[in-house]
Symmetry: C2
Subunit: 226 residues, 2 copies
């Protein structure tokens, strides 16, 4: 067989392979549209959610069944949110207006116990509300910075492992989860995640207490500084 013939055969083989793959892909998408992964993770949950036991998420290897009276082993919007938070393996950056929910606080503390770096940015005024978990989280040694401006740090988003964005209308409070009409959107779409990562870092730097201290010194009249 000459070289020219071999090139032709390989060429035709490549065409056949390309067309087959394209056609099979099209066929799979038509037959099982929901089973074919369409790009990065995208999920939406709505609240209020049914109240269910979340113990299995925190102690998956426990040999004892949970004795609490709540329904067990059911998926709700809230258990899905907890699963996303607990999936963190390298970092959790959280930027949240109000944080009073005990299960979410337990999830953050569990990640901290596993040695996962956590940064929390919150609104100063809302650290003082009844049931705020920020004090307990700080006492556990997690780094928290507060936005103390005259207006609200009204974000409600988290970035898990620098690639998974959790955002929406939901504050991390019991009322928001069990009572209000709320939404959460989870995505790993880089065009949506990267701006939130940049904004978190900007707000984190702006609210660095050391920087604020230096700025307050710079703003004092020269006579006072000298």
């Amino acid at each position: 067989m000459s070289v020219v013939q071999m090139v032709k055969i390989v060429g035709l083989g490549a065409v056949a392979l390309t067309l087959s793959v394209e056609w099979l892909g099209w066929l799979f998408c038509r037959l099982w549209p929901r089973k074919i992964s369409r790009g990065p993770l995208k999920e939406v949950f709505f609240f209020p959610t049914k109240v269910a036991c979340t113990e299995r998420l925190f102690t998956p290897n426990s040999p004892f069944p949970c004795p609490c009276p709540l329904p067990h082993n059911i998926n709700t919007s809230f258990t899905r949110l907890l699963v996303h938070i607990l999936s963190a393996s390298s970092s959790l950056d959280l930027c949240v207006f109000a944080f009073t929910n005990l299960d979410l606080s337990r999830a953050v503390l569990a990640l901290h116990t596993r040695g996962i770096p956590i940064r929390i940015l919150t609104d100063m005024d809302y650290t003082l509300i009844t049931g705020s978990q920020i004090g307990a989280i700080r006492r556990a040694g997690i780094c928290v910075r507060c936005d103390s401006g005259a207006v609200h740090m009204h974000h409600k988003f988290a970035v898990v492992d620098g690639r998974r964005l959790i955002t929406g209308s939901l504050n991390w409070t019991l009322t928001a989860i069990q009572s209000n009409k709320e939404n959460i959107l989870v995505t790993e779409e880089p065009d949506l995640v990267l701006p939130f990562i940049s904004e978190f870092q900007r707000l984190w730097d702006v609210n660095d207490p050391a920087r604020r201290h230096l700025l307050s010194i710079a703003e004092k009249p020269a006579s006072l500084v000298l």
Copy 2:
């Protein structure tokens, strides 16, 4: 030229074309990663935003320059939000907790004047706050339904033309836009948009006043109904 030769030439041509398109696509993505559209629309804006004149968005064909002292012809997070709202050509479904912003109210009224069907779902308690635009919107003839539950209808999302989702932490208020730290995410990704469309329809149906009236009759003791 025999048929076999022609098939071979066409085959090789197809291979060359396929490889060229693939390679050119790869090259463009490497050279101009931000210019190549990666699937459906995806945008993120953060607030607070600079205050700028929005007049040109409402009267783009006006021959007179706006005399107001605000900066003109600059893009801000807020002008981008307005552009997305004003882009509606077939429908606007809005589900918002608090609505006091005059520019956003003007945008909704402008769409209504253009004959675009608008549905607004809001929280009953927050229609009573100072500066609420819901009264003016209702008086203009736009269909508004209120969630009058004991808890908050805390969503802040809109669906434009049944395909563009605008969601985030931002209520439609002046404080949220000019003062608070807030976010807005805009996407046409079907996996993210469709759940919001379904949830809007569900809440719209639940808050139908006729349905509520029938339910209230059904709940009355039989003796009273008779």
